[in-house]
């Protein structure tokens, strides 16, 4: 579904991604693990259009989307849950959810939007009780749920998740990973970037290991879980 070939990206003169190639097959969960600063977030930003790439191609459904602005990529069916949640802190929870379906609002499809909001409340019941609250006052875990909810409002075929476990209590992390699994079971393709390698490998079918901007390892997630090097560096021995 998504195919990246020879991707290079740089901030000013510092090269962050070097010749990264990877594939995300339809209906699968693919995870990218790596240390802080390995270029994981940059990779996701390149796909979602927030980052200008210097070389390479990104094919989504066999169409090269490299260089397309972020606001058009959402329309193709790729939604990103950005790193650090990045919810609209000064708006209400419901406004945040609604803005996720911004492109559908423009088509003025109120009934469809209502249906989607109800579906979101089924997945994250807590958001319904908080719907009037200002989003910035939510707890970290709730904000992460809101960020995922906002991305889901666009009904993406493919969901890009950037560090969904960052700064969140372990119990909530488990809940969020359960949701990720559910979403995948209902047909959403998922590309997950995660420092919490154990959680990422458990939920994924296939995984890539990124080090200093390069893919150094790839394989079935189950195999990587048992790989001695991965164990040593990413799973704490």
């Amino acid at each position: 579904m998504l195919r990246i070939e020879g991707l290079n990206a740089a901030y000013d003169s510092i090269q962050v991604l070097k010749n990264v190639s990877l594939k995300v097959p339809k209906g699968k969960v693919v995870s990218i693990i790596g240390a802080n600063g390995a270029g994981k977030s940059t990779l996701l930003k390149s796909i979602s259009g927030l980052m200008n790439i210097s070389k390479g191609s990104i094919f989504y459904k066999d169409k090269d989307i490299a260089g397309m602005p972020a606001n058009r990529i959402v329309g193709l069916g790729i939604s990103q849950v950005p790193e650090g949640r990045q919810i609209f802190a000064h708006l209400s929870v419901l406004d945040n959810i609604h803005l996720g379906a911004y492109l559908y609002f423009k088509r003025n499809n109120r009934l469809e939007i209502k249906k989607r909001v109800d579906r979101i409340y089924e997945i994250f019941p807590i958001l319904e009780t908080r719907s009037k609250q200002i989003a910035g006052t939510l707890s970290g875990g709730e904000q992460q749920m809101l960020a995922i909810a906002r991305a889901l409002m666009a009904r993406p075929e493919m969901l890009l998740l950037d560090e969904p476990s960052m700064g969140i209590a372990p119990l909530i992390v488990r809940e969020i990973f359960n949701v990720i699994q559910q979403l995948n079971e209902s047909g959403t393709t998922i590309l997950l970037v995660e420092q919490n390698a154990r959680a990422a490998l458990k939920v994924a079918h296939h995984s890539y290991v990124l080090e200093r901007g390069e893919v150094v390892m790839e394989g079935l997630a189950g195999e990587l879980l048992n790989n001695p090097r991965v164990k040593e560096v990413y799973l704490g021995g």
Binding site: P69, N71, V74, G75, Q80, L99, K106, A151, M153
Partner: protein, 333 residues
């Protein structure tokens, strides 16, 4: 008291020759009509003038906030929108003779176009912009607009007929021009329209989202550049309304923009940069202080009062009356 009041039914003197009597009568009536302006009437007069002037400042401040909220830019050409509003209205209404109802929207649309051009020609082409470079670009634009206005209209101030005549209304001993009510009324209309726009429409929410987090906004499909364009158009429209409504009171000339921008900026800071209720409150306070200062102390220092208030706020409470300190810490400017 030199003259005692004439008693009803009695001619107050017949020793003075007839020809002088009429003059004398005029002086007496004028004297007594002045006497009826009581202190409270006087203060009310200052207040109502202050609120009117303050309404204009509030409109300018709201214009600042709209652009600031989406881009974090302080648009120093905001005052130029007001000036253009006034002068273009003079052109449509007085020179071309278009009726008010047509000249008004035509002016607003034309000034909106100027706002759109400002974004397209001065803001958007700047590559890798920092907030400061963008602000400097708006200063350049304001100088350019001022120069263009001087070239077109010259240096003379222009008058515009008041919307509903110039017969003053007397309320509580204060003399009110009907145009004052138009200015205040339009501020109220702007407040209502904007609060509906930002609280109830998805485009309004999308604009707030851009202010909050432009990257996240583009991730949900919002075209941030379009929202910036819209913010400039909207601010220009509000500036135009301010200019159109205030010109019948204070006339308008090519270089009025800078001072209006300073006062409006002061109002926005006073109320808390980015806050719409703050902008209204700040504008009204600014106008009232100026009006009382001019009336009670000296009109020569009229502009100084507003600036002193601005400085005091910047020294002691930079986040403004309604601004949150937390938010002002996050903001880049």
């Amino acid at each position: 008291m030199i003259f005692s009041p004439p008693e009803a039914g009695k001619p107050f003197t017949n020793k003075i020759p007839q020809v002088h009597l009429r003059e004398f009568h005029k002086i007496v009536t004028r004297f007594y009509s002045m006497e009826t302006i009581t202190l409270s009437g006087q203060l009310f007069q200052y207040l109502i003038t202050g609120i009117t002037v303050g309404s204009v400042y509030a409109m300018v401040a709201v214009g600042f906030n709209i652009i600031y909220n989406v881009t974090e830019i302080i648009n120093f050409a905001q005052g130029e929108f007001v000036m253009l509003g006034g002068l273009i209205m003079v052109f449509f209404h007085v020179v071309m003779g278009l009726p008010l109802i047509m000249a008004f929207p035509a002016t607003v649309i034309l000034v909106m176009l100027v706002g759109i051009l400002l974004d397209r020609l001065a803001i958007r082409p700047i590559r890798q912009p920092s907030v400061l470079t963008l602000i400097i670009a708006t200063i350049a634009a304001s100088i350019l607009l001022k120069g263009a206005a001087m070239f077109i209209w010259g240096k003379d101030p222009y008058d515009l007929p008041a919307f509903s005549g110039r017969n003053p209304i007397t309320v509580f001993g204060a003399v009110i021009q009907p145009q004052y009510l138009w200015v205040i009324g339009f501020l109220i209309v702007i407040v209502i329209v904007l609060s509906i726009f930002f609280d109830r429409t998805i485009i309004g929410k999308a604009m707030s989202a851009c202010a909050d987090n432009p990257n996240a906004a583009s991730l949900v499909g919002i075209n941030v550049k379009q929202m910036i364009l819209l913010s400039f158009a909207l601010s220009a429209a509000i500036g135009a309304v301010a200019g159109i409504t205030v010109t019948p009171i204070s006339l308008m000339e090519y270089d009025r923009g800078a001072m209006l921008a300073v006062k409006g900026f002061g109002a926005a800071i006073l109320g808390g940069l980015g806050s719409f209720p703050g902008a209204i409150l700040g504008g009204l306070i600014m106008g009232t202080i100026e009006s009382f200062g001019a009336g009670v102390i000296s009109s020569g220092y009229k502009d100084a009062f507003a600036l002193i208030v601005l400085l005091i706020v910047l020294f002691f409470r930079p986040s403004g009356i309604l601004g949150s300190i937390e938010i002002s810490k996050i903001k880049r400017f």
